[in-house]
Symmetry: C2
């Protein structure tokens, strides 16, 4: 678990809050005026800790995810970028400017400034490394191939996907999540600017996630098909489950990843035309849940157990091709993922004239080839939901363990 940070908190107080979940200290940031800041604007998560932030952190309202390609071909440049990013990320998560320094009218402002006065807004920043940093076109690109974790080898193709290279892969990933979209934008802007001479943005995705006023924690939000998401997700507060399913344990090539995790990203376009014409019964059979309550078919409320053996008239209550059945740990050898997905909606899909919208599927796990890959292979082949969605982007990143003050995320790779 993350330890509390030990930075200058003279204008901050520890917020005793149920939101301080997952063992992380949630700090109330300072506010320039005498008025009370809103809870979300003032919340600050610590950057430093044994794990990176933005993984076990309860999902914020907004996401900006960007894959970045390294322009340099030296390991020391990668090391410098990661070091600079960590220093800036720790500042940004405290609601400070990315780069310290007095104003100098004769120089470009060290921080672009669009988040001035917005507070930390529960910002978390998570860094990850892609396979192309280690081996590209068969070559040991930076002299780091010896450290490439087996778990980071490329994902196999899946049936029915239509991946676009300009929405897939990347040397590095930055995940900025916050309760204010401008705070997430500013973090991404500031971090990419710091590395502007050494890296360029390959793709970026913007997501959001709504919390019903009566929902607690991350539960109960709906995806854009109107169904509740994440009901049976790994509980980030369950340390044993996190160790079993999420935190990487190390191993021959990947010992530097011990305490880290692997992020699978899939950009999943939702095909609304057929979906919106599907009967309510049909929609519920696709997911295997009631639309309004989120209860599994045969159950009464969202948290009722999923009974995959229940039958009516000789037929399974939860259809054999229902999403909830095919994704369930019970039918996947106990495999689970920590999902932390966001919805996206970005303009119009040219071919259909419909809103281009769907799910930025993101899942953290200790080994994607033992977890995401077998689950997704089964979903792609049999899941009723796959007829209503199209995977158009895909990426896999190794997210190193957290850093301590004075260190940086990724330093274990260079140890």
């Amino acid at each position: 678990m993350n330890s509390s940070n030990n930075l200058g908190l003279t204008r901050r107080r520890v917020l005793a809050s149920a939101g301080a979940a997952a063992g992380m200290g949630l700090l109330a940031g300072g506010c320039e005026s005498g008025t009370s800041p809103t809870a979300s604007a003032s919340a600050a998560h610590p950057f430093y800790g044994s794990h990176q932030s933005g993984i076990a952190t309860p999902p914020q309202s907004h996401l900006l995810l960007a894959a970045v390609d390294l322009a340099s071909e030296t390991a020391s440049d990668l090391r410098d970028v990661l070091g600079d990013w960590s220093t800036a990320a720790a500042r940004l998560m405290r609601g400070e400017r990315a780069v310290a320094g007095p104003p100098n009218f004769q120089a470009p402002p060290p921080d672009p400034g669009e988040a001035d006065g917005l507070g930390p807004a529960a910002l978390t920043i998570t860094f990850g490394l892609g396979a192309s940093l280690f081996i590209r076109r068969g070559k040991d690109r930076l002299g780091l191939a010896f450290a490439a974790p087996r778990a980071l080898r490329p994902l196999p193709p899946f049936r029915g996907e239509a991946l676009s290279s300009d929405q897939s892969d990347g040397d590095l990933v930055i995940q900025a999540s916050a309760d204010d979209p401008q705070v997430a934008f500013h973090a991404m802007h500031a971090l990419t600017r710091i590395a502007a001479d050494r890296a360029s943005i390959r793709w970026a995705a913007h997501g959001s996630r709504s919390h019903p006023p009566n929902a607690r924690g991350g539960m109960g939000h709906r995806n854009l098909f109107g169904f509740r998401e994440g009901t049976r997700n790994v509980d980030p507060k369950d340390a044993a489950a996190m160790t079993q399913h999420v935190w990487a344990g190390g191993g021959r090539e990947g010992d530097w990843m011990r305490g880290g995790t692997y992020l699978v990203f899939r950009r999943v376009q939702m095909l609304f035309d057929v979906w919106d014409s599907t009967t309510l019964e049909g929609q519920e059979r696709v997911f295997g849940r009631r639309k309004s309550s989120g209860a599994p078919l045969g159950g009464r409320s969202e948290l009722d157990p999923l009974d995959l053996n229940a039958q009516r008239g000789g037929q399974p209550l939860v259809p054999t091709d229902a999403h909830v059945r095919l994704a369930a740990p019970e039918t996947n050898g106990g495999r689970r993922l920590l999902r932390r997905s966001y919805s996206f909606a970005e303009g119009v899909e040219k071919d259909t004239g419909q809103l281009d919208a769907g799910l930025l599927f993101m899942a953290f796990q200790r080994d994607p080839h033992e977890q995401f890959v077998p689950i997704q292979r089964r979903l792609a082949e049999s899941d009723a939901l796959s007829k209503h969605t199209l995977h158009v982007g895909s990426a896999l990143f190794a997210c190193p363990p957290g850093a301590q003050p004075g260190g940086f995320v990724g330093e274990t790779l260079f140890a």
Copy 2:
């Protein structure tokens, strides 16, 4: 000003709040659970009134703007679409499903359902009509050309713009603004679905707008260049200013527009590469304001008067090409606009590898050819800011007056 609505408010109470600005009643919506809803999730604006909502309404946090092209070529279909939309919009703004009706498992759900439980979230929905509904390729398309307002004739070209047809124009516009992005998405999804057999989406844009914790009303938010926006905007609570600058007065062709207004939309891409390399002094000279405080050059705080005559060493303190000077009513014959812009950030700009981000400029006015056009012509030719921005989308819409219960927005066109 909008009248309060007279709908069933048994679960609602009037919120005595400074947020009930612009003379509109702000209602607290019901919440299914016993817990307290957040202020933003519970706020409801009335759809019915003498003006449409979403114009004088204090800007919400999120925007979804979509231009829609009518598939039909009959005025009665247009009338039906507008009627159906108003009925649904009034329901959506109360936090209800778009279409009433008991659940029917054997039919597609009348409402797509993704905003169930999220409350009204201060949703406003604004409708507008484009010039192409009246005259298209020189023809009286729907038999309504006689009613085409002179103020709706197409905008002229401006220097330096690079407009893309798939981000410009459109037969109709829907503006959905809310404090929850999923509520805005749902409104757009539900409304376009209602008209799916009669209309298709031409383009859509997503925006957001951050309010510092200590800001009051719509003041003080920063654009993505880090400068404060809207400091000298028309005050929607100033009825005389709204009558003078914003609400259309009618006239020979456009009498049906009396009490309506005209929306100019410009998608303005910000060019961050040069901007981020510009000195702080240079940035402040481009805007004519201090970056941190928002004070006009020569002033001390954001609300200080703009002194365009102030000099130092024989040079004007506010440069001759500063944005604040060239956009000022004082240098534009008193012309003013009610701006209601949002920031956007949607992926990566292919040519530069930078974040594709900027401003969804939106301004309401009584006659764009007397207000926006002369101001923008001057800005396009001389404004220092124009070197750092690129206008890539443009549209103009006539937003009819509001409707009363039983009526619909746009009915005056058919009277």
